[in-house]
Symmetry: C2
């Protein structure tokens, strides 16, 4: 129970949605939830992580590989496909516990025969090069079927094509099922080798990739496909490697490779799963959210983070944003810190490109990109959207004004150290990142003499409907946090690693900057709550037109018109795209009173469009903190079900933005564990302020913190902790205002 | 010769243009160059200065009075009008020497008779309440004509109506020809009294405002109309006053009141005229430019300046802009300093509103309005234009980001003192204006610590196609000038008027600000010329797209689309609306080398659209300085003929902006006298660097400077100066690098 996502009947209008909803993946690549008979028009995609290309059109995006599972069926010359045939029965499902996609379809042919197609596929978490599928044909009467099963080389691209096939071979009777592609821009090589193995009692004839089958009602026709994708960035000879591995996996057989995969994903679930009793839909939605992160996270490399649409396609250029640090990182930090470290190290690895970006705009220090790919460069152009009224490219300020990305990156490092207790990352490049981000903030800032304070001008904060504003609350508070982190890092390093510190300061020529950063940390302006407790989102925000989202919508001329940029409908109003002040408060919960949080939640909630999938989870998280359980639950469920229900915008202007939503998925985890579970880590240790939704009888989850590992089960009145890791002694926690030190493996307390 | 603007034949498409081109006025009001048979559809307007109204729609504009000269003619029930009748001959003309508008039209009636209409009208400069007209009807055969002559109460308004008639009387057999109106918003009262006097040998019958005339071929029918407009702001009982004055003027008779008017305008021309030999068209264009300023300038009051479209209608809200200080003031300073003082005192008078505007945006000091009317408040809304693609109001930044207006106002005061040598204005409110403008600049500024300089961020400079930029060259240089003026004012006042100074400093609570302003004057950033001598118009300007105006135009979807605002086509390009750096250089000529001026002229000229009528004269002025005589002449002629030819934009988006162009008119004077004449005033006295256009044999003009008055005649090789005022001794001037002191009334030098 609570592990199966399933849909019955075929609905053409849902092809695009289900492609995302039934996605599988393993961090190395994703594979959309499409059916074997689909082509590029149905957005089939095997989307690679780490491999991006710009074919010269100026729009870099991840590379989609040919589709190894493409199958064309025909009976008597007519196609058998959900797209055109008589479908008697159809079911598509995803077993998220095991990461297995299935389809079961029964067609009625022109002659009245019933032909059934079923398949199972998975992207191996044990062998990240492998994706495999078992495809079965059966019929209720004897029938001749022609099947074409071979890689579909005609791939879906938003701005393709992205590669040339530079080598191709055949094997096992199949043609061109082993090939090497080379991308256009960077000449990345990726090889795919596909084995198609038949198992059947029926008569059939193979001619290359075509199988002419005399299917009988007693025998089915089983095709097992093993596709191995090897990247030149990970091995010396991807072409040879893909074939060797493919033969090896095919040799093991489907059941065995599936078993190995299941062992890994089940192990992951032992860390990541959250069990909820009493609310089956929330149970499914929360697990599904976690699943979507597990199939997109870079378990195999620290070279990359999690794209804004996971690996569900090429949307948003397959780029990584600040979502990683702010929305996704905490789940990994509490469940599998090594993976969290991969995510953080992606930023450390690309400090150089952040320095270059700052220099591009005339600043010092590290200006981390708004969206970046494997190169670490900002992938955003200065004209990133199109005005749908004039068809003109619009000057957008995502790239050059969202300076909060640098403090967000520091926040990720800070959270890493806070939750894991592992400061060694400071010696692995973390210190340099923190110092250069602080230097960037100083370089970007202006000093207002008449007010004796540093200000951050002309920025875009979390709320993207208000670009180019002054002293955005989110940005300034995050900047202050980052500056404090720099000051604290200095203290820590001088105390514990003096030689390394001196060497870093010298290397970065940071001697003069230390005083600047110290002063800026003290004097940076962070807008304080007003008399009513509300913090103004930016200078002058309260003077903007105050109206309802409904009223704003009534002014739209086209439904998909972008409300932001410089001339959008929301720009000169108080309507937010997404949480900004509220996000800031939810990230820095100790800095504000409950009354202040409530005042800001109340004020901004009614003015938020939630035009970004990053919004609802944050309103849920802060609602949980201010005891607004109903709101918290409702908003959490909006976030948790976004990819189940498909309740998201498909277009920004004329830009397609469909796919899965890892930020909302990570936000769902945060609301559940940090919000309802009330888990918090601070200088003194771990504390809990649990407050489960009314419908939840209990919630169980696992977490790791500063070397401890624990299973935690919450009921409405009790919490049971069970230490599961090697480190046991001295675990302190606080609940209900009382501090406990565990003396046994387990403890149950009333709260 | 060179005094007559004349057009033959009737062309319906030119009604709007000729309404502006043949305008008359006297500073108290303007009257468009329309014909007697026109109504509001033909934009008839008697536009008042000083009286503005907003009827509740949010758009304040000057009040148009009823038209006293409206005449309807009919023969046999059919109208006689250029709009519908058979016009055999038609001429409309303007005698600019005497400020007299004439029309002569011959109609052919249905029966073949020829009926001639001729009229002469003038707005009295001797009696600014008076506008009078002589209207004559004649025919080549006997004919019965019905004439309706009475005030047309149905006035043209852009956003009217603006008044109620609260009292009305009849006199002289005419009905409702004496009335009192009251404006809607501020209840201003204005009265008009009109006398219609007939002189004829023909039989006619008057019934109220209708005259049934039996016109014979031997006798003409003459109607003389005296209209007196009295404003409640200038007299206690405008209703009684208009009648009394009207009776008085009618009693004097047309010839007498015209004579009194001519005496005044002729006297003005003795100061203002520029005589050019060898180039009749330039002669006419230069005189016409001066004429347009003379009919719009506030000779009668210091309460107002010159609106951006003169008194030719309600366009641009009849508001006053920085054009006054930067484009028009110098002519008055050199010709009639008392009138220049009126213009300057308009700003002094409205310091309070400038302080209030600064406070409105959270600043200290005086933030002078972008456009203002009789109240001194900024008349510009935050949504001043409409997007023609969506029909939505656009957030514009004219009001809140054009901070250069405050230094422009200081520039006006500075020029007043420099040219007149009269510092007493500092004791009449000038000091307060200068200090408060400096305080505003300090308050607006930010300090960049890493560069040890003050910057002006988020401003719109002279070039309005680039809004919200940082460190606009025009703005920063003008700000530095204003700060220097404040520093110099302090020195002057402390030395010469210590008690008054101390009292002002105390009154303004300026003690702490003195040091700020001194420091900011030293440390304000003014972008220096680069290696190629070019000054970057604002931070990042050189990175914007570099293309031709032609290429930009080719991207237009609609011809009248506004190229600026935040999303216009020019915004992210290097195309300027109007001179910015070049304007700054032409105002501060001593601060740059000729090479630098040339480099900037060359760079920016090809990138300037001249989308503002403020642009060409400035390119002419700087071209004259860098010895580009052909360019100087061509650009000067563009500016000088703008209102003759009608070569200007009629629409900004969907906003009508037709009318006369006083800034271009004033700019024409500057190019002629300051550019070609090379007249310059500096600390050492007057200097001349004459360089006449090739086609000009000579140029003669008058000027006043620091108490001296002189006639100056330039030929290609000689300059003759003749001192005409009372002050004669000690007049020093420099020409061709040599300094002369006049010992006689006249001197002729070769240069």
């Amino acid at each position: 129970m609570g592990w199966l996502v399933s849909e019955e009947n075929f609905d053409k209008s849902k092809i695009e949605l289900f492609g995302s909803k039934f996605c599988i993946g393993n961090g190395n690549f994703g594979y959309r939830g499409t059916l074997e008979e689909y082509g590029k028009e149905q957005l089939c995609a095997l989307t690679l992580s780490e491999i991006y290309d710009d074919n010269g059109c100026g729009w870099r995006e991840p590379v989609n590989m040919p589709n190894p599972f493409h199958i064309n069926l025909s009976v008597g010359g007519g196609n058998i496909s959900v797209l055109g045939s008589n479908v008697a029965k159809h079911e598509q499902s995803l077993d998220i516990k095991h990461g297995i996609h299935s389809r079961n379809t029964t067609f009625v042919t022109g002659s009245g025969s019933r032909v059934s197609v079923s398949s199972e596929r998975f992207a191996s978490m044990a062998a990240p090069e492998l994706i495999a599928e078992k495809y079965m044909l059966s019929a209720d009467s004897d029938i001749d079927i022609v099947m074409n099963a071979g890689p579909d080389m005609d791939v879906w691209d938003i701005n393709g094509p992205h590669f040339n096939v530079i080598r191709s071979e055949s094997s096992g009777g199949n043609t061109d099922n082993h090939f090497l592609i080379e991308t256009i821009e960077k000449k990345y090589q990726v090889s795919m080798c596909v084995s198609y193995l038949v198992q059947t009692g029926c008569d059939y004839k193979q001619d290359g990739n075509q199988y002419t089958i005399h299917l009988t009602k007693d025998d089915s026709f089983l095709l097992t496909t093993y596709a191995v994708i090897t990247k030149g960035i990970h091995c010396a000879d991807p072409f040879a490697e893909s074939r060797a591995k493919c033969e090896c996996f095919a040799g093991k057989g489907f059941d065995q490779v599936l078993k190995e995969h299941e062992a890994v994903i089940e192990k992951r679930w032992r860390s990541y799963d959250i069990e909820i009793e009493g609310d089956p839909y929330a149970q499914l939605a929360v697990r599904y959210s976690i699943y979507l992160l597990l199939i997109a996270a870079p378990f195999h490399t620290e070279g990359i983070a999690i794209p804004a649409r996971g690996l569900s396609g090429q949307v948003y250029k397959g780029a990584m944003f600040w979502d990683t640090e702010i929305y996704m990182l905490q789940m990994f930090l509490f469940e599998e810190p090594e993976i969290a470290k991969n995510l953080v190290m992606y930023r450390v690895k690309h400090l150089k490109e952040a320095l270059e970006k700052a220099a591009e705009f005339g600043y010092e220090g590290a200006f981390y990109p708004w969206e970046s790919q494997e190169t670490g460069k900002d992938g955003c152009t200065l004209y990133n959207l199109t005005d749908i009224f004039t068809g003109r490219k619009m000057r957008t300020y995502f790239r050059d004004k969202q300076i909060h990305i640098s403090p967000d990156v520091v926040f990720g490092l800070y959270k890493y150290m806070e939750i894991t207790g592992d400061y060694s990352i400071l010696l692995q490049g973390g210190t340099e990142v923190i110092l250069e981000c602080a230097r960037f903030l100083y370089s970007y800032s202006y000093f207002k003499k008449s007010r004796n304070r540093y200000e951050l001008l002309d920025v875009t904060g979390a709320d993207e409907y208000h670009e180019r504003v002054n002293n955005n609350a989110y940005t300034n508070y995050m900047a202050k946090m980052a500056l404090k982190c720099a000051v604290d890092t200095r203290a820590y390093m001088e105390k514990n690693h003096k030689a390394e510190w001196d060497s870093i300061v010298k290397k970065l020529k940071f001697e003069d900057d230390l005083a600047h950063i110290d002063e800026m940390h003290r004097l940076i302006y962070t807008p304080a709550p007003g008399k009513d407790g509300v913090i103004e989102q930016f200078d002058g925000y309260f003077k903007e037109e105050d109206l309802s989202v409904r009223e704003l919508y009534s002014r739209r001329i086209k439904e998909n018109e972008y409300l932001g940029s410089l001339c959008g409908l929301a720009v000169n109003t108080q309507i937010l795209k997404q949480a900004d002040v509220v996000l800031m408060m939810s990230l820095r919960p100790d800095q504000f009173t409950k009354e202040e949080k409530r005042a800001n939640w109340d004020y901004y909630e009614k003015r938020t469009e939630h035009g970004s999938s990053l919004s609802t989870c944050i309103y849920a998280l802060l609602a949980a903190e201010i005891d607004e359980k109903t709101y918290a639950y409702d908003y959490m469920m909006k976030a948790a079900t976004i990819d189940l229900v498909g309740n998201y915008k498909l277009y920004l202007g004329d830009l397609y933005i469909g796919g899965t939503h890892p930020a909302a998925n990570g936000g769902t985890w945060m609301v559940t564990v940090l919000g309802f579970g009330g888990l918090r880590v601070n200088a003194d240790g771990v504390s809990f302020v649990p407050d489960l939704p009314d419908s939840w009888n209990s919630m169980s989850y696992h977490f790791a913190c500063r070397g401890y590992e624990a299973d935690c089960k919450l009921t409405k009145t009790t919490m049971t902790l069970h230490l599961t890791g090697q480190k046991k002694s001295g675990f302190l926690f606080n609940i209900g205002g009382k501090t406990y030190e565990m003396t046994d493996d387990s403890i149950t307390v009333n709260y």
